[in-house]
Symmetry: C2
Subunit: 332 residues, 2 copies
DNA sequence: TTGAAAGCGCTAACAT
DNA sequence: ATGTTAGCGCTTTCAA
């Protein structure tokens, strides 16, 4: 039974519980002799301090929250999610912390889980995807002085928001370079429609693509709406005034767009002639009907950096790192 | 600032903090008048009780743990994981609980996270996959009187272990029925090699398949090891003494086996003639080079049932449900 | 170096 | 119906 309290140990050792507390917290003011005696007794009885009581005294939870977004399938049902998680866990466990996970479920009438966790101070800090940092959540975090780090670059314009993200400009750049190296010249980027403001990560990918195309003296063709290969071609023809041949390569800005395209073109022989490319690996790529080029992202590193940054905020370290951009590499 | 304590509210209301505590906990012994007054003050000041202090007094954490297994990709990188999770969260949040997630990371030297959480009583109950319930973990849970429910049927022989699982016997049965309905007679099950003891869920799938084949007067052909379609055929020929034609349909017991097969047979025209089937949906199935039949599982329900069962254990309800088997249905 | 005592914020007898 | 008081298990002054 782990019902042992610090008082029990103190009694067994014939000392005051304050003394036991001191060995628990590595206090220097204690004789080697009594420290060893107490440690021995703690081992023998498998004593484990009650972390709740500890938390109450310290006013800490020793827990970091990780909020995820069910609606963001991309970030959840694929390796993105768990590789990042693995990185996060690594550093959290190293710090003797635990991970509280939540989705941003709205509860009918009551508070959302996110709100509850912040308001009740159930965690010492929070990691959350950019998609979940809206104005309301932001204000809540600030009001309750809850340290947080965004995973994915935030689109909110507030100063002082720390985030960790893939370097999407660079990623789009090397992806474009790769397609150029394969001999392609007519490279189209399929970006998807922007409802309202364009997502930052898409905008960055567009930028990286444009830059590299420009460097090679080629024209960038970005398609927002499409529903067939023909649409991609038509756009290109209209925009650039060339004679409307098929693109040699298409960069899809998200997996969704890629799969959408594959759905349209199922069985279309023209597809075979086209190089497809996108961002982030996906374990099923090798089983697809069509090969796909993609950039590789060190997601575990991303998780580690995010958690590390969060801890430096939690511990109020002097000069916490600024926001961090993770570079990507191309697969062969 | 959420620095308000119960004492502050008591002072503002001109009552004792015990009275405030009573309205917090819905105690009946309180006049409508003072209750309303206190509630008003709490609202005005956005008072939120400190859940750690609450936990200390109640000796509860108001947190349920969910342990997952990184090594089990099947249970993690696909919808299995998050649909179950969604069900779990639903009932947890309804109960005003929170979800602590962890992987069973072994820490060099120190305790694993699992161990820490159990020993430190950081949660009131635990949900964990069968793959993680080994003898050591089981004993730890019992020793610390930690309520738990297994997701997936356990293979440990201890009595009184509660679990929630898909009815794999039934699932294999209806899958086999479906293939028979398509006119196939030569149906092979590819089960994969059993290293050590055969996983329970595979054994169940084998059983369901055998039963239905038997009912139709057909011979069951279960292949454990294979590395090509030819191997499947050779086995069939050797076993049944027929002339070694290709199977008309192959049921792969896991997604891994299915993908393995697709890898072998990439570009093999024979594959086109064969119906493939497996368990659980997978969002990429429709993009595969080859159509796949599968059974549908109400995973959200599974999560809800598991969490519900756990709560009845945590709350020491009189007659907690026994282990639960979730039926599956076939997709059309 | 060690002990005594107060306090973290809340609940729960026991009084009144 | 409300107040008083003693914990829950730990940390942390302040004394000794």
């Amino acid at each position: 039974m782990s019902k042992l309290t610090i008082q029990n140990i103190a009694d067994l050792a014939g000392v005051n519980k304050a003394t036991v507390s001191r060995v628990l917290n590595g206090n220097k003011n204690i004789s080697e002799k009594t420290r060893l005696k107490i440690e021995k007794i703690m081992k023998e009885h498998n004593y484990v301090p009650n972390s709740i009581a500890r938390g109450l005294a310290f006013n800490k939870t020793f827990t970091v929250g990780f909020c995820f977004d069910y609606t963001d399938k991309k970030a959840f049902a694929n390796p993105f999610f768990y590789k990042v998680l693995q990185g996060i866990e690594d550093v959290i466990y190293d710090n003797e912390y635990l991970l509280l996970m939540m989705s941003d479920h709205d509860k009918k009438g009551g508070k959302s889980t996110f709100e509850r966790i912040v308001v009740e101070h159930r965690v010492d800090g929070l990691l959350l995807p950019d998609t979940l940092l809206n104005q309301a959540n932001y204000e809540l975090l600030i009001e309750h002085e809850m340290p947080f780090v965004i995973i994915g670059e935030h689109s909110l314009q507030q100063e002082g928001i720390r985030w960790v993200d893939v370097d999407n400009v660079q990623a789009a750049g090397i992806l474009t370079e790769r397609l150029l190296a394969l001999g392609h010249r007519s490279i189209v980027m399929y970006a998807g429609a922007a409802d309202g403001r364009r997502d930052k990560f898409i905008a960055d990918r567009m930028e990286g693509y444009r830059a590299v195309m420009g460097q090679h003296g080629l024209e960038a063709h970005i398609v927002e709406q499409a529903d067939s290969l023909a649409t991609l071609r038509a756009f290109e023809g209209g925009e650039a005034g060339n004679n409307g041949h098929n693109p040699e390569a298409v960069i899809c800005c998200t997996h969704e767009l890629l799969f959408e395209m594959l759905d349209w073109e199922h069985g279309n022989p023209m597809l075979k002639e086209i190089s497809l490319a996108t961002f982030d690996d996906y374990p099923m790529f090798r089983h697809l009907k069509h090969p796909v080029h993609y950039v590789e992202i060190d997601l575990e590193m991303m998780g580690k950096q995010a958690a590390g940054l969060l801890f430096s905020l939690i511990n109020k370290e002097a000069n916490p790192a600024q926001s961090i951009r993770i570079p990507t590499s191309i697969v062969n």
